[in-house]
């Protein structure tokens, strides 16, 4: 039972980060960007093993590196952004899988990284995640106004004197931290779901950006609790169970918005 409690705590710590950051992902239309960073996380893991550095640190560094490459590639105009993101996502995933197979002497559970492995959540991970969540929330609350201003209009924010480029970079770093944290819980392939589904479900009931971030966090925590319980009860994989619960909450929210929220008009 202890592992279940650890998993629950880890999930809730993740929710604290993914609620607000996921809202920004939705507002900034960066779902595919998040997906690409998530896919690159596996490459981060293998590089971490190869170079013998802390895996969380390796994932974050790798994701930031990929984000920088993407930013520089997006300056050219011949390949559209979504193509570029798909290209990077699958290239990094393939590179991760290939390098992983080349690291012969370590036995690694690839499935665990792709779909999450709750049994692998230990106390050290919990402490790492708690620190990560604290750092992310402090930084995010300090950059909130500037990041929101840049989300509404990057040009206007820049003219007003917000450090737009630095905010964008910082946002990517925070995203990388969340992805590193989410990897053990839901796995590389499902991380984006944790970011965007609770935020999307929160939208109809939110009158302001802060409310939406808060509600997304709460919905995400509910999904973690329910998903883990179901997973324990029916012996289903935890990550997918959590994501399915998120999706269920989203459907409820869509139905609920029809009945409880007055139509905008």
């Amino acid at each position: 039972m202890m592992w279940l409690l650890d998993a629950l705590l880890a999930g809730w710590l993740l929710s604290l980060m993914s609620g607000p950051l996921g809202s920004f992902i939705v507002w900034r239309r960066m779902a595919y960007f998040g997906d690409t960073l998530a896919h690159s996380a596996l490459l981060g893991v293998t590089l971490g093993i190869l170079l013998d550095v802390n895996l969380n640190v390796a994932i974050v560094l790798c994701a930031v590196f990929i984000a920088l490459i993407l930013a520089s590639l997006q300056r050219q105009h011949f390949i559209p952004s979504d193509t570029l993101l798909g290209l990077m996502a699958h290239t990094t995933l393939a590179a991760g899988l290939v390098t992983l197979s080349l690291v012969g002497n370590v036995r690694i559970d690839i499935n665990g990284y792709l779909f999450g492995d709750l049994l692998a959540v230990n106390r050290d991970d919990l402490i790492m995640m708690a620190i990560g969540a604290a750092v992310v929330l402090v930084i995010l609350s300090r950059m909130w106004k500037g990041l929101l201003a840049a989300t509404v209009s990057e040009e206007l924010a820049q003219v007003e004197g917000y450090p737009v480029a630095r905010l964008r970079l910082l946002f990517m770093v925070l995203l990388a931290v969340v992805i590193a944290g989410a990897m053990k819980l839901v796995g590389v392939l499902l991380i984006t779901a944790m970011l965007i589904i609770p935020a999307a479900a929160a939208r109809p009931f939110s009158e302001g950006p802060k409310k939406m971030a808060l509600l997304a966090t709460v919905l995400s925590m509910v999904a973690v609790l329910v998903g883990l319980t179901l997973s324990y009860q029916f012996d289903t994989p935890a990550g997918p169970s959590i994501v399915l619960t998120c999706a269920f909450l989203f459907v409820l929210s869509q139905l609920g918005s029809k009945w409880f929220v007055p139509k905008a008009g």
Binding site: W27, L148, V152, E155, A157, E160, G208, P209, A264
Partner: protein
């Protein structure tokens, strides 16, 4: 010049090998309204973005007064439906926002009653005033307005221009704005710059109207003081040319001999 806010010296901008603007000299001073006019594709918005420091210029220099506070009203503002944002939320995002300013600015622009309305549900005119309010909230020394009256009817346009002139006096700020129609903006303008890839002519609105290069670009229309609003599509072709208006104009001056003007065709560059 002691009062200068912003200067561009010999500024040029080229994109993918095509020169869009060249040899621009621009002085913006406090207490002065400068209006940029020119046909579509003349580089009005590009010049504005260079002045704002948003576009790196290919050549030349941008000199601004140290610590210059700019209030910017962009041409477009699309707020995605996914972002729940009331007008009040939007205004509070202004850098250096001071709550005690909010009431005053909102009353000045008559948007106090709209504060709790989602940004996505503002009408065109309301959005223009909201953007102007946001620009004012940063206590600007320089207001940069990219087509501030677009989407307004003629009455609304005159009112907004008059308001901009009043605000300039109240704040003693400089104003640099883009306009499509010289006639309406004349009363509220100290200096007009006629742009078409370079500065064709500049000066007092009346004198610019007499300038040959202005006439070449905009044609000889009915004098502004007789008719408040002239629509330029009523040109005739005395030379009997039978071209269709396919709007594939090269913006060479020579092709505009017949007084054709796309400046008010409602397209956005």
């Amino acid at each position: 010049m002691n009062d200068y806010l912003l200067q561009l010296r010999n500024a040029s901008y080229a994109h993918q090998g095509r020169t869009l603007l060249s040899g621009i000299h621009l002085d913006v001073n406090a207490g002065e309204i400068i209006t940029l006019i020119g046909p579509n594709g003349a580089g009005k918005s590009t010049l504005l973005k260079m002045a704002l420091g948003l576009l790196p210029m290919t050549e030349g220099q941008r000199i601004s007064r140290p610590g210059l506070r700019i209030g910017y009203m962009p041409q477009h503002m699309h707020i995605p439906d996914t972002l729940p944002l009331t007008l009040k939320d939007f205004l509070r995002l202004a850098k250096g926002f001071q709550p005690d300013q909010l009431d005053r600015v909102c009353q000045r622009l008559s948007i106090s009653g709209l504060l709790s309305r989602p940004m996505q549900r503002l009408s065109g005119g309301e959005l223009q005033r909201a953007l102007l309010a946001r620009a004012l909230l940063s206590s600007p020394q320089l207001l940069v307005l990219d087509e501030p009256v677009q989407g307004l009817d003629v009455t609304g346009q005159s009112e907004l221009y008059a308001l901009i002139a009043q605000l300039k006096d109240e704040l003693n700020c400089g104003v640099l704005m883009v306009s499509h129609d010289l006639h309406l903006v004349m009363a509220a303008t100290d200096r007009v710059i006629c742009l078409n890839g370079h500065i064709c002519c500049e000066g007092h609105p009346q004198s610019v109207q007499q300038d040959p290069s202005y006439l070449q670009l905009f044609g000889k229309s009915v004098p502004a003081h007789l008719v408040p609003y002239t629509h330029h599509h009523d040109h005739t072709h005395e030379d009997g040319c039978d071209h269709t208006h396919a709007h594939d104009h090269q913006h060479d001056h020579d092709t505009h001999k017949h007084g054709d003007v796309e400046a008010d065709s409602g397209e956005r560059p």
